[in-house]
Each structure stands twice: as structure tokens, then as C-alpha cells.
Subunit: 326 residues, 4 copies
């Protein structure tokens, strides 16, 4: 199935991905990971919840960590352009029969919760509390020097269907992987904010969150994080990398938080604001699509992910096999 | 005069800055500078004109070098969203009485030429020839590894007026410098594409082009360029830097081409896609606004610029004095 | 067997490792690899031999590539302090019964060839033709920007015996790996020039050359090489890395030349000039000794090596098993 | 006066520069600078003295900060090869009539104090307390990530005489600046440990300490320090740089501590262990000798320095004028 034409006049204007809620089973352990190791900044915390932002973000938070009996992902947040677009979004989801629950969220103005057709919980808002800039308070930089949340990557049981849905609400495909045998899409990267992606979908039992990614200044910050994790008890949390992606051309590292939620550290992809940007197609059997330098990803990377709150899992339609490390 | 509220629903949709034409007096010397030294890629050339693109660009060119008796800047190119937006742009400029000349430009579809109210020649188009990606052909990377054109910076004789005009066509202010005594704007940075700026204006005899900037991967590429220029006969072309800007937080270097056209090498500013992004205000007397590390810019940097073809010069209204290197 | 006390007053003064001769089966293919890809500089060449130096070296060459029917390593070169020390070295090897052949070598003054007790061909000299500095001719820098030859690493069938021999001629152990079960040495790193090593020995069928290493400025140069090799037909020549060694703390990459000779790209180890520097001991079962970040080396890395001209192979004494990638 | 031939068989074996004592007028302010900002590690401290080491050093300290009424430099420490060499050194200084005082120094074994013929206080020892390695405790890295003390640079009123003296005790010239008019030496760089220098001398009122330098991993660490200092109240302590030296080819930054003692941050010079290394000559009028990229040093850099305890000052013999920033 070919990649659809981009929907350049979508029903409402999503600015960018914004934030995610992670259910975690040991809040102190998660704080040590996200704050002391990765270097995110605490913007609010109490006994059950910690809010975090990255160094160049002025919105109140990009992650909410919530103490929980079991690990989960509570919802993926997206910022829309203004109140008017928020209402248009709500009307659209309602018209699709996907449900619209207006919710109260700390530090956020009007917001509604819905789900995509595959069960992924989504939240839309236009106004989050704004905080003073800290990007030039260099004494606060720690860990990997995370600058901003970059993207969500999700397992989808039907990537073609996921692409069709997110395309309909204005996400544009920048790169994708096709299974040559079936012509179906194995994975796709789709953006709103002008980078390679705000969201990506990978074939697998879904919906699950594969990872959340943070943008950092340079590959050297990723090397610093590896050195730090390797010597502070986190060597087992390093899952894959460092390396250069074929797809997106970004330099990457994948690590796992104490509950197994996967975090990607990511830098140096390219600008995609041109509406006539041609998507780049990769073959599933191309060993360089995952890692330009040829190293395959480990099995865990293809199979493990975080469950979304209240989302039933479906095995993937496509049974093709990517290249897995032996 | 305060910074105006952003115009979030402008009369037409400009995607980004796109390209510039430089009149140069020795095309071979300019080729040595832009191609062999900076590392831009030739996409077309003949005896009188060379077209160049940076490594991640898929549009045909971001610079056209044109052999000329005298150095000049021929026009600043901007890409609009689609044909419909192009027509809306033409209608708008026509309605303003600024003139609309539909022009033939090599490698570009429908395009019109106009001027801003201060005389800067502008060109708008939506379609430029698209070229295959080369960002992963690493054997082609040379010099400073330029990835993309990033912004134009212009001398304006009335920065408040320039800001008002560009604000009206949808450019949003991200940072600005105020002269505390008069309350007037000394300089402003305005974006369309989600970085700190596509265009900036600095107080001075105008309109003149202060510089065109290119985005590079990391500060180390800028150090590489300095080492290269310093040992290939270009040491006198290094004007200012390297350093960290206070404004924009970018790492920078300014160099001059063989005709004196100023090129900035630039990396690591921040994302600005939020429509509610608060502009950051700097005081003209703050020595860290120019260079976070405190080093003032040389006098040439404040005084010299490239003239636009056919634009009459006006001395600046504001006579305040920035901090100049002794 | 414990590491011996350093011999601080050795029988003669070796300054550093110096050069190696590689027999290669396709000189043009090797030139493409060493010159066009790695970025070494040709200092002399004819139809059968190419001499290369790295960017900060002033000696004539660090590698001689010799066209041959089969791949081999012809001899490891070491520079001694002066003529007097050269004579003392010759007398010492002669007294050990290891043989001393005074040989004619292009671009080198008086030189003799001998073998260590395990069969490794060694060459000693004090004067090699000196060339003008090129380390500030930045236009010559290419590929991984190799600055200097750093070390030789060899398979030894009896690492304890190799350490004892090289210790007797003044190489000092900086780090070593012990097999906890037998108390024998699995691997050792030994220096003359003030870095972590000039020579290292790893348990295995020996003597064979495991790799020759080149020092580069920063980890980013190694990333540049990976990007280049991955997109110029050398993706299959990338064997292991990039990563941080536990031992030596260096950032590394291992690549294979067209004949399979292994080259390490290496940077950022530490200074070892103190005569009372305490060797650092690692356990063979420590997964972080190979790669601080935990990734094991592939089987090829433990098993494959280059044969020395005229050296009979012996299986290793120690049968312990390092951690190999699955 | 030509550079003397290196003394390859000096009267005693100095391994490297080792440590320096700084008299400081506000110990807490100095601690904030050296520990919290530069990132040196405290190895011992009480109310009057703080001992510091850099990240890869295993000797107890490279700097002792001593609370004092006035700023001063107490003595430059050098490590000799062993006890035997220490006695040879003492005998030699005694024979020169320069005085030998055996002194008690905390954390150091047998040690004597003397002065060079120009009054610089020197201390020699062979054994300092050894500490466990911390170079792989990455959570301790802060500030500029200082790895090791690299060199001392001193004002000398007669550089030719300083060179002659240090040459006689085995320091070898790697690079030097000649005043073309007089043929006299304006500055010289001399090493023991295999880098460009352990000591350097610059023409000026002397003897005074111009600076102590620390080696850091890469230029990016220097940029990090600049960002940190610029935003933590130290912008006025940034004196010169960042830049690439012509001489030494190192990347550098000069900062001033709270008492004005000058610290250089330095990386990426080259290996100099070859006894036949040819010194590189620079002309005093060459603007690229100071900074390869052409930027001149400020006047303070040529004129200001730290006084040595008990050393009378002499105006320099040579009155030539280097290139000073306007
Ligand atoms: Ca003592
Ligand atoms: Fe990702
Ligand atoms: Fe700029
Ligand atoms: Fe090695
Ligand atoms: Fe220095």
C-alpha cells in the first residue's frame, strides 16, 4: 500500500507532540533515572507525581511520572495551535465516534482526551503553563543535556492503517519502510513540527509505546551519558547504540528506565518543513535502514514495549521479519 | 515601541527563507570560497552563474552566484506553502502598492518579485526543482559541512518599522534588543520555520544585507572551518568568532567572502514552533547579548554590509551605540 | 602469575612503536582504504609499495603497504633513542640468541631485524627520514583525521611469557586482564611512550597481529569515519564499535582493511609517564573490561588476526573463555 | 641566539611537571572557582589549604591553594624518576650554587626546594601519595572536565638564558618564537613528558608565572566552560579565547581565578617523544603564532602575571613588541 498524499489542509492544526504520562512502580528510582542521570529538570513534584521539562522547553512539562502499582503509559499529549483549533479537534474526534472527554490536567488549560482508532490514548490542549527560559542557565545542565522532547514511537498492528489515520489529521510521512514482498508498510515516520517525526509506527503487537525520544545537542552528549550510565549502576539499562540511523540520519541511543519504558536519545536529523518534501523509502531487508553502520538491533528492541492504559493488544497483521542481532 | 503581538493568521503562508542571489566580481574566487572552503555543493554552473545547495537541502539551490562588475545582493527568496498561497501573496503585495513582477527564474516555478517598504528585493515562489537527497552521501561533505540555509540578517534604518511589516506577513519575534533610553527596538529576530529566525533586523544604514547564515552540525565543524581558512589564505576573511550568541544561544562564526559578503556559520539554537512562545528581551547595553562570553564584535561587524540591487540607502533613525571592540 | 615489577633501567632505550609493513593482495584497493578512507598521507609510492604517514608524524612512514600474493605482516618497527642505544639493543638481542640481521630499509638509517622469543619479527632503528610538519595543513585532513600510530596488539599463546619478555626490555604494564581461575594473564597493555600502550597481548593462537591502532582527535572523527565507510561500500569492513573501552578508557572503533588486517581507531586514553604508575587489573569475566558500556565483542574479534611473515603458530596455553557476542 | 642542541643525557631525569602552590586571598572563592567551576577534585582540605587533583591523575595533588594575605605562587613542583635521580638533582643544584633545602611537604616523600638562576622557586620529589583512579567515575566529572596538569608558562626577562638553563637540565625545545631583528628568542616551549611543553617562557618582566594549564578532552569541554562561566558570574574572568594556537596547535582558553592567577584550558597538541624532533620556529611578527585564526591577544595577557614568593623582578632585556589587540 503506497504512502498516502500528505493532507496539507488537515481538519485542525497540531503544532507538535508535547508530553507523556508514565506510570512507574518506584518513583524514587524513576527520579534517579530521569533527573539525576538523564538530566531532566523537575518543575513540580509531590509524593505521587513528578513533572519534568527539558532544558529549552518553556511549557511546564514533557513527562509526568506517576507512582503506580504497575508500569503503564497514560496518554500521549499534543499541543494544538489555539483554542479555536482545540475546538475543531474535539469536534472532529467526536464526529469520528472516537470519544471526547474534557479533562482537568494540572498545569494545562482546556484539554480533552480521546483515543485513536487503535486504542492509543491521546490528549489535546493548546495552553500549558509557561515557565521562564532556563536554556542559558548552564549550571543546570546535567546528564545527557536533554533539550526537548522529540517524538513518540509506537508499535502498531497495522502500520498502513496507522499512517492513514495520522495522515488524515495532518501528520506528514518523511521516511518509511516497505516490506517488498507484500508492499505493506513496516514502519513510518510522520511529523508536524518540522523534524523527521513527531510520531512513528513500527509493525508489532499494538498499540504499545515503543519509545519516547529526547533531542540532545551533539553525539558527544550521548557518549557522556553512556559513560555515566556504565559507571553508576545502569549498564544493564543500555539497550541499543550508539549509532547512526539510516532512517532519519539521526545519531541515537536507546536506554530503558527502571520500569523498562524505553527512552531514545536522539540528535541531528534534518528539517522537513517543505510541504513538498518527498518521503524516503527503505526496504525492510536493508540492513542499513536501522543502523547506517550495519549493526542490527537486539531482539528486545523489536519485541518489548510499554502498554497504554486501557488499550487492548492486537497481534500485527504483517509477519515479515526484520534483521535481528544474533 | 513594544514588540507587536504575533500575527498568527497572516495573509499568506510563508514556509521559510529559501535562497539569495549574490553578485560577485570574480566567480572563480567565489567558487573557491563557497564550494572548496565552505563545502556547498554545485547543482548547476556555467560561465556566469553558479547554483549551490547545502547538504540536507532538496530544493535546487540556496545561493546563486552571479558574475558581475560590482558586488550586490539581488534578492531574498522565500518559499510559500503552495500555489494558492503564492497567489494570495501576490495579491497582498499588489494591494499594498509594493509591486508584483512575475519573473522567470531558472529551476523555479511561478515566482514574483516585489520589495518590502524599505526597498529590500524579495522573491516568492512555491515550487523549486527538487533534487535527490545527498545528506547520507558522506563522501561529499567538505569544509564546514553546511546543512541548510538558516537565516538572513539585514540592516534596517528603522527596526520597529521592519518588525511591524514582517510581523504583518506572519514572521514572529523570538528575541529582540531594546534601546532602554528610547524604548525603541535596536534589533529583532523573527521566524517562520520554527527556529530562532528566518530574518533578523539590526539598526543601521539600510536596507543592506548584513549576512546570510548556514546551519552546521556542531561547534566542532566551525572549528574545522577556522583551521582550514587560517591555513589556506583566508585568515583575513575571518571577521568575528567563534562564540556563543547571547541572543539565540547559537554558536557562531562570521566570515567574509571574496567580495565582502558576510556569511555566518551557525548552530544549536532552539525550537520555536509554539505560537505562544514569549519573545526574549535584551538590553542594548548588555555585553552578553552579542556574545554570551563577553567579547564585543568588531566595528566592521556593525558598519559593513552588502547593498541590495536598486535599493536606496537611508541612515538609521536610532543613534544609540552598541558595545564595539576597542 | 602476577605482573612483574617494571624494569625501569632496561638494557636499551626504546622510544616508541614506529611502523609496520603490511603485505596486501591488491595495492590499489589498499590505497583506497588507507588513503582515501582513513586519510593517511602518501609519502612515497611506486608499483609495489606505498609509504604512509599520519598527520602529526614527522618520521617518513608508519605503514608500508607491499603488494603481495598473500596477506601478511612483515615486521613491527620500533624507534630507539640514538645510535648508541641501537647498538646496545643489537648486542642484547644477539646475547639472547634471538638473531640480529642488519638490514637495508628505504628511508631508514641503520636498522636490524630480529624476532621475539615467540617469533614476532621486530625491527629496530634510531633514524628515519624526517619530513616537514603537515599537522597545520588542514586542507590535507581527510577521513578519520589520523594523527599518529598508537599501538600494536598481538595474539600471544602465552601472555605471561610475552609480558615477561617485553617487560625485560622496558615496556611497562599499565592495565591487564587476569583469568581468576588460573591466575594467569589473559591480556596486557604495555607502554614506552607515555600512553596506555605501545604493545598489547591477548590470549590466542599466536603470534599473530591482532591490530594496529591510530590515534585521532575526538570521538566525532570516529563517527565521521563510520558515516563515510557506511556509504562508500565499506559497511562490511566495520567490525566492532564504536564504544568506550573499559581497559584504557579509550574511545574505539575496529575496522578491517581489504585483506582483513584489522585497524583500530582510538582516542582519549591517559598519560602514563609516572614510573610508579600502578597497573590496573581487570577480571576476564568483567563484561565492562572490553566495552565499558557492556556490549561484547563479536567472535571474529577474538579469533581472527594477521599472520607474521615466517612465524609458526602455536595454540594458546590458556583456554579460558571471554564474553563473546551471541 | 639559536636554540641550543637538546641535552639528551641530562644530569638527572625529570619525568614531568607536577604541581603548583597558589597563595589565594579568599579560599572559599578559590574553591568555588577551581572545584565548582573548573571541576578539579578535592583530595584534602582544612581551613587554610585545599589540595586538588585532575580526573586522570593518581598523584595526590596538582594544585595546593593556600589562604594568604596576598596572592602569590609558592613554587613549581617537578617529579623526578626515582630516589637516585632525586639525589642527583640535589647534588646538581647544590653544585650550581643554587641552594638545596630539603623540605617537609604534606603527601610528598623526600623533597627539596631550590631556585632557578632567575629566582623561580622549584621543588623536586619522586614520590607523592598515590590515590585510586577516578578517571572512570564519570559522575565526578564537572566543569571543564580537567584531566591533568599540562604545563607552566613563565615570564622571563631573558628567554635565551631561561632556555639555556632548562635545556641544561633536559627540557627540550619543541617550538620557539624569534625576534627577527635581534635574533633573540621571544618565547620558547620545552618538554619532558612528551607533549609540546612542561614549561614555557615568554619575554617580560620576570620571573613571574604567566599561567598554569590543564589538559581537557576536547574543544567542546572548553565551550561548556565558557557557557558555564558566562552564566555564573565569571564572565569577567574570561580573558582570551577560545582559539587555536599557532604554536603547539592546541585549542585554548585563558581564564583568571579570583586572585587573577591565570589558568589555561588546553587540548590537542601533539606527541614529542622523538629525541630528534625538530623545533618549529615562528616569527614574532607572525599574527598566526599566537592564534592560528588571527585574533591577537589582549594587552593584559602580555603584561599581567603572578609573582613568585621571594623572587625579585627584572625588566626584560628584549623590548620587541608582539601584536596586541587594539
Ligand atoms: Ca613528607
Ligand atoms: Fe525514535
Ligand atoms: Fe545571524
Ligand atoms: Fe588496541
Ligand atoms: Fe600555555
Amino acid at each position: 500500500m503506497p504512502i498516502p498524499e500528505p493532507n496539507l489542509y488537515p481538519p485542525f492544526n497540531i503544532v507538535r507532540l508535547s508530553h507523556v504520562e508514565y506510570g512507574v512502580t518506584d518513583l524514587a528510582a524513576s527520579r534517579a533515572f530521569y533527573v539525576d542521570t538523564l538530566g531532566l529538570q523537575v518543575t513540580d513534584e509531590d509524593d505521587t507525581t513528578i513533572y519534568l521539562r527539558a532544558m529549552e522547553e518553556r511549557g511546564h512539562h514533557c513527562i509526568a511520572l506517576v507512582q503506580s502499582d504497575t508500569a503503564y503509559v497514560g496518554g500521549l499529549g499534543f499541543k494544538v495551535f489555539d483554542e479555536q483549533e482545540l475546538d475543531k479537534a474535539a469536534a472532529w474526534f467526536d464526529a469520528q465516534g472516537l470519544g471526547v472527554d474534557w479533562v482537568e490536567r494540572p498545569f494545562i488549560g482546556r484539554a480533552f482526551r480521546t483515543r485513536d482508532p487503535f486504542g492509543i490514548p491521546l490528549e489535546f490542549y493548546c495552553r500549558m503553563d509557561r515557565l521562564p527560559p532556563i536554556h542559558q542557565q548552564y549550571k543546570l545542565y546535567r546528564g545527557v543535556k536533554p533539550l526537548r522532547i522529540d517524538h513518540f514511537n509506537m508499535f502498531s498492528s497495522d502500520v498502513d492503517a496507522s499512517v492513514a489515520f495520522y495522515n488524515s489529521i495532518g501528520f506528514r510521512v518523511t521516511e518509511y519502510t516497505e516490506d517488498a514482498e507484500t508492499g505493506k508498510c513496516w514502519a513510518a515516520w510522520m511529523h508536524r513540527k518540522g523534524g523527521v517525526h513527531d510520531v512513528a509506527f513500527t509493525n508489532g503487537t499494538g498499540p504499545r509505546l515503543h519509545h519516547t525520544a529526547f533531542w540532545v545537542p551533539t553525539p558527544l552528549n550521548i557518549i557522556d551519558l553512556l559513560d555515566l550510565m556504565a559507571t553508576t549502576g545502569y549498564v544493564g539499562n543500555i539497550e541499543r547504540g550508539p549509532g547512526r540511523h539510516g532512517i532519519s540520519n539521526a545519531f541515537f541511543l536507546y536506554v530503558r528506565d527502571p520500569d523498562g519504558h524505553r527512552i531514545e536519545i536522539y540528535c541531528s536529523d534534518y528539517m522537513t518543513v517543505d510541504p513538498d518534501l518527498e518521503p524516503i523509502k527503505w526496504d525492510l531487508k536493508d540492513p542499513q535502514r536501522q543502523t547506517l553502520w550495519g549493526a542490527p538491533a537486539p531482539r528486545s528492541w523489536f519485541e518489548e514495549g510499554s502498554v497504554f492504559e486501557g488499550a487492548a493488544l492486537t497481534a500485527s497483521v504483517l509477519k515479515a521479519q526484520p534483521i535481528v542481532a544474533p
